[in-house]
């Protein structure tokens, strides 16, 4: 009896629960999530079924098979007897190399141009403005072709190479640099360098603390130089100069020995960093212009020199404006590096292209390629977000 009597109230309870906004929100989101998950499952399942039905191989077994092809630039040991998985890694490292070097060069160049555009010197400011407007409005692929086919291709043949100071050569095949050969005992020199660097860092930290406490400024430059350069030099001489240089020598079709830098890498680096620098320059300019003039005036009123007020007052504040858009440029540069395919640099896309064609497993290879770019981008953005929060104004 009691149970029967309670039933209508139960229903009303359930109804009331359904009408509660929080519950409905959660329910909608759960439903949407379930629908998405189902759609994803269904697409994957459908693709797999179709591949099977059309008799197209699928799965990731091919990664452990022998690749059978060579790559022109390998940062790790690799030959045509290595696996497809290793080839992936080789391509990935080539992409990371060009992205890291490109980001470094673009940042330095971008900051210089950005500040130059704000210069009180009319000529410098206008030159910087022309650079920005010219470079950022020409498609990147064209700029790559320009550097690769118009500039670097006009370099002389190996036999007529430009000889650079220090035993280096530059020709149409690339830049040939003397390579250091480390002999046993060089570990001591490296250790001395590490010790010197640590000592300098400690000294710098101590000097700062001291200045904060007493206001007394201590010059650290000379002791720092002594620790970073002097100490390793002494150890180097004492250990009997455990370093030799392998110079490039002309032989056969080309130079042998030394370190060869592919012209494709040089062209790609030039193209990517010059292009991205024009965007970074504008971001830097916006950052500096975004700081109210009163800040500079206040710094000068406190007696700070022009350089100090820039370094201690303007730049830390400008950095907060600059970092978020800078992150986008870094991501752009990394993704743009896939244009390497057009000029023969063996980047990730180029190597996976070969893998795709040899294995015919388009779905897997493309998925892996997309996954890797996504991971690189997310990691870059994670780091920059951390850096941004580190630099952000701490509100008290």
């Amino acid at each position: 009896m009691a149970v029967l009597a309670r039933k209508p109230r139960d229903l009303a309870d359930v109804k009331a629960l359904l009408y509660r906004p929080e519950v409905r929100q959660v329910a909608y989101q759960a439903a949407l999530l379930a629908a998405l998950a189902f759609a994803a499952y269904w697409v994957v399942n459908n693709v797999a079924a179709n591949l099977r039905r059309q008799n197209i191989a699928s799965g990731f077994d091919f990664l452990s098979r022998t690749s059978g092809f060579d790559v022109a630039q390998t940062l790790i040991e690799y030959s045509n007897l290595s696996t497809y998985g290793r080839a992936f890694l080789v391509g990935l490292l080539n992409t990371l190399l060009v992205a890291a070097l490109g980001i470094l060069a673009a940042t330095v160049l971008g900051f210089v141009i950005g500040i130059a555009r704000l210069s009180s010197n009319w000529l410098i400011a206008k030159l910087a403005a022309v650079y920005v407007e010219l470079v950022r409005n020409v498609p990147l692929l064209l700029q790559l072709f320009f550097w690769y086919f118009a500039v670097l291709k006009n370099l002389p043949n190996p036999r007529q190479s430009f000889a650079l100071p220090g035993g280096a050569y530059f020709n149409v095949r690339g830049l040939y640099l003397p390579a250091p050969v480390f002999l046993p005992g060089f570990g001591l020199v490296a250790a001395a360098l590490a010790v010197g660097t640590l000592a300098t860092a400690a000294l710098w930290w101590w000097a700062r603390q001291r200045q904060a406490l007493t206001g007394e400024r201590i010059a650290v430059l000379w002791p720092a130089l002594a620790a970073v350069v002097g100490l390793p030099l002494v150890v180097f001489l004492a250990a009997g100069r455990p370093l030799e240089v392998d110079y490039p020598v002309l032989g056969g079709f080309n130079f042998q020995g030394g370190v060869a830098v592919m012209p494709e890498l040089i062209a790609l680096l030039l193209g990517l960093s010059i292009y991205t620098a024009s965007f970074i320059a504008e971001i830097v300019r916006a950052g500096i212009l975004g700081i109210p003039k009163g800040q500079t005036e206040a710094a000068q009123a406190l007696g700070l020199s022009r350089g100090l007020s820039l370094r201690l007052v303007v730049i830390p504040q400008a950095a907060r404006i600059v970092i978020p858009p800078l992150t986008s440029q870094y991501l752009n540069l990394t993704k743009n590096s896939s244009l390497a395919v057009a000029i023969g640099y063996p980047d990730f896309v180029s190597v996976t292209g070969t893998i795709l064609n040899q294995t015919g497993q388009a779905v897997e290879v493309i998925l892996m390629t997309m996954g890797v770019y996504l991971a690189i981008s997310l990691l870059t953005s994670l780091f920059m977000n951390w850096f941004n929060s580190h630099m952000a104004l701490v509100e008290r």
Binding site: A31, A39, N55, D70, F253, P263, A342, G360, Q361
Partner: protein, 344 residues
């Protein structure tokens, strides 16, 4: 509640749409019916390889592979002009065929076991027996591929070429550097700019590519042939009727040459008393029906395109700028490898 209902309806529509999309792709339709219904053959060809598949400045396609597209269209649709050409790169070509974007791939594509067994493709025959070779600058003084130790070699990506190259240098214990480009144009430009010592691809293409250089006389094709490259038309697996049609159009062109049936004399040949000629041209027997076509299929192909020998000479042989010897591509009766099963 209406709010929820609207959302649910939206979700249902999206899901149904997805289902429809992929469902259509998975439905097994007969290529012959699709082609007839469309009234046009969609043929995957090279983006631009003189002699095999290339469009001129007016957008008119020509080449050995292109003539195979025309012959199939003539046999199936009755008109060699009813072809839509889809230029494909080495990387795209198999996906284009697998996904149904093209009906047949006539794009100097090498027949290998992996392509037969794991790409879901079937090769209908060999319309050109090729092999990989090298082109070098005369000035380099190289006479053989074995002298290429330490050389930098320009390659176009997405071909069996990279694999053969690695094998060749591994077998001969030589060092080399491959420089891989996405497009042939760029690979050739880099080679011409002296970035590479040699350019490698199938020998047939080397002759074509040599003509594309600014001064063909400065370049020579080395005698070394480092691989077997049987090139031929490919179709999707699982449609044996379409496969049979493509294969027998090829055989019909070969048989026509063997029987001396040419584009010019095919109409006279209709009155021939030779039983093989009568069977080829549909005057005897009922062979077209088995293919799902009429009995004039081979007549139309020869009438509109010519026999294999004519197609060869016109596009890559003596009638072309390439001037490639028949060599392995001669008929079996003349010391070549081209041999077609009989029509009977």
């Amino acid at each position: 509640m209406t709010h929820f209902a609207r959302r649910a309806a939206l979700a249902a529509v999206v899901l149904a749409g997805l289902a429809g999309l992929t469902g259509a792709a998975s439905a097994q339709t007969k290529t012959l019916d699709t082609v007839k219904q469309r009234g046009q053959l969609v043929c995957g060809v090279n983006v631009g390889l003189p002699g095999f598949g290339a469009a001129d400045d007016k957008g008119v396609w020509s080449g050995l592979d292109v003539d195979y597209c025309k012959a199939i269209a003539a046999a199936v649709l009755g008109d060699a002009g009813k072809v839509r050409y889809v230029p494909t790169t080495t990387k795209e070509r198999f996906t284009a065929l697998q996904s149904g974007e093209i009906d047949v791939l006539n794009r100097n594509t090498t027949w290998t076991i992996s392509r037969d067994s794991s790409l879901g493709l079937s090769f209908a025959g060999v319309n050109y027996y090729d092999g990989q070779g090298f082109m070098v600058k005369k000035a380099a003084g190289v006479k053989s591929g074995k002298e290429l130790g330490g050389a930098t070699i320009c390659v176009q990506t997405g071909t069996t070429t990279e694999l053969n190259l690695a094998d060749f240098f591994r077998i001969n214990n030589l060092q080399y550097k491959p420089l891989v480009f996405e497009k042939m144009d760029e690979a050739l430009r880099a080679y011409q700019a002296n970035r590479c010592d040699a350019f490698t691809t199938d020998a047939s293409q080397l002759y074509a590519v040599r003509l594309l250089t600014s001064n063909p006389d400065e370049h020579i094709v080395l005698p070394d042939i480092i691989s077997k490259e049987p090139l031929g038309p490919a179709v999707r697996q699982g449609d044996s009727q379409w496969f049979t049609i493509v294969r027998w159009v090829h055989f019909a062109l070969l048989n026509a040459e063997e029987l001396n049936v040419t584009q010019a004399n095919v109409d006279e040949m209709l009155n021939s008393t030779h039983p093989d000629v009568k069977r080829l041209l549909g005057k005897e027997g009922d062979f077209g029906k088995g293919l799902g076509l009429d009995n004039d299929w081979a007549y139309r192909a020869v009438k509109q395109v010519g026999n294999y020998g004519e197609v060869f000479e016109r596009n890559v042989g003596s009638g072309s700028r390439l001037k490639i010897d028949r060599g392995l591509n001669g008929l079996w009766t003349k010391g070549g490898l081209q041999y077609a099963p009989p029509i009977r």
